[in-house]
Symmetry: C2
Subunit: 229 residues, 2 copies
């Protein structure tokens, strides 16, 4: 009643867990997960590093919280796309690719997901829905369980690649590779034949195509096992 003057437009909302986590995600999106430190994160929200401990338990808690928010995003994206359930493969494919699109906006998330055991509600909900899908399609519990292991991180929309196009090999590596041409003729032949553009050393793999290729390979195989009872 008294002092109506804009309590909504406070110059800066007070610090809380959510704001800390949002800032952590912003920082990781921008500079990579390796440059996410308590001191830098404190700077991002305008506070000393030690003050963060008033809102989160520690760095592990921050990483867990970041994942929780990202997978929350995934769950929303997945929930939005429930088409006709007549084709289980098409439906699951659609969901997994939707999850992938979210993760492509947060390149650090796969690394963090793989570095910890994921028992957060959001991740549990995602897998619970996935199991439900398999069951509805006629998969036995055993086969559903094997299917989840076979899909692995692909169930969440990502694969941890052994070779990363994004970071270019340094000069030493390039020189070594050229020297090795005679020792590894099959690799050289494959790169030569498969690479499309003029860039000869790396960046010649279409990650999205390869992801879908392997995903379809697995879904087709699983469907065959399902049909075989």
């Amino acid at each position: 009643m008294a002092a109506e003057r804009a309590p909504r437009t406070k110059a800066r909302s007070p610090l809380n867990r959510e704001r800390v986590l949002r800032a952590a995600i912003r920082l990781a999106d921008k500079s990579g997960i390796e440059s996410l430190s308590m001191r830098k994160l404190g700077g991002e929200v305008g506070v000393e590093a030690m003050s963060l401990y008033n809102h989160v338990a520690g760095k592990e808690d921050i990483l867990d919280g970041m994942i929780e928010l990202i997978v929350g995003e995934i769950n929303e994206a997945v929930g939005a796309t429930d088409g006709p359930p007549d084709d289980w493969k098409a439906g699951m494919r659609q969901d997994i690719l939707a999850a992938r699109r979210v993760l492509l906006r947060h390149r650090w998330a796969p690394d963090v997901l793989e570095s910890r055991n994921n028992f957060s509600p959001a991740v549990m909900k995602y897998f619970d829905s996935l199991i439900e899908r398999f069951r509805a399609a006629g998969f036995s519990m055993d086969l559903t369980h094997h299917a989840l292991h076979a899909l692995g991180s692909r169930a969440l929309g990502f694969t941890q690649e052994l070779y990363d196009d994004s970071e270019q090999p340094d000069a030493d590596t390039v020189a070594m590779l050229q020297q090795m041409s005679t020792r590894f003729p099959n690799i050289v032949a494959m790169v030569a034949e498969v690479s499309h553009d003029t860039d000869t050393t790396l960046g010649w793999c279409d990650d999205q195509f390869e992801f879908e290729f392997a995903l379809d390979l697995l879904l087709d195989g699983l469907d065959r096992l399902r049909a075989a009872r």
Copy 2:
């Protein structure tokens, strides 16, 4: 000629790159990769941390060198098992499972492998042989390339699991999981039906079985694509 007295049995061989890397592997095998620091590694070989820089370029170089030695082990194990090449699936399966047995003795190796681009000679040789196998079995270059992506880290004998049985969930996590039973009925049902032993929470997955299940799923699928030309 002079002083025949045992120059072979020197009390301690002088430090060199190989001894540093062997010590690093020993330390990682024993205590995990996260406790491999320059100072501890120096202690392991009886020298201050700073002296290590006389033999290796830095920590990244040490990690690369460790991988090089481990994959060298894999190449030996794989080379030993060349049976009849009439069945490409059986041969490749045998090789990949041999690689897996080496990695199971060095549990830190998968993490390190995934954390860097692997252009070391040993890794190149491994993949060169794998490509050769695919080609000999009649795979096109394109399909070989897709096959390598589809196998991913499984080609080297490991998968990065999203859930790790080895580290037990803490009390908080267990409590939370029990609370969640009603929210995630499908997960609860799957765990209940699939778990064999009395241990209800975790450790109920047979990693080796799941690895072989997914490997066979992929190899069967690839064989079908090969036969379809």
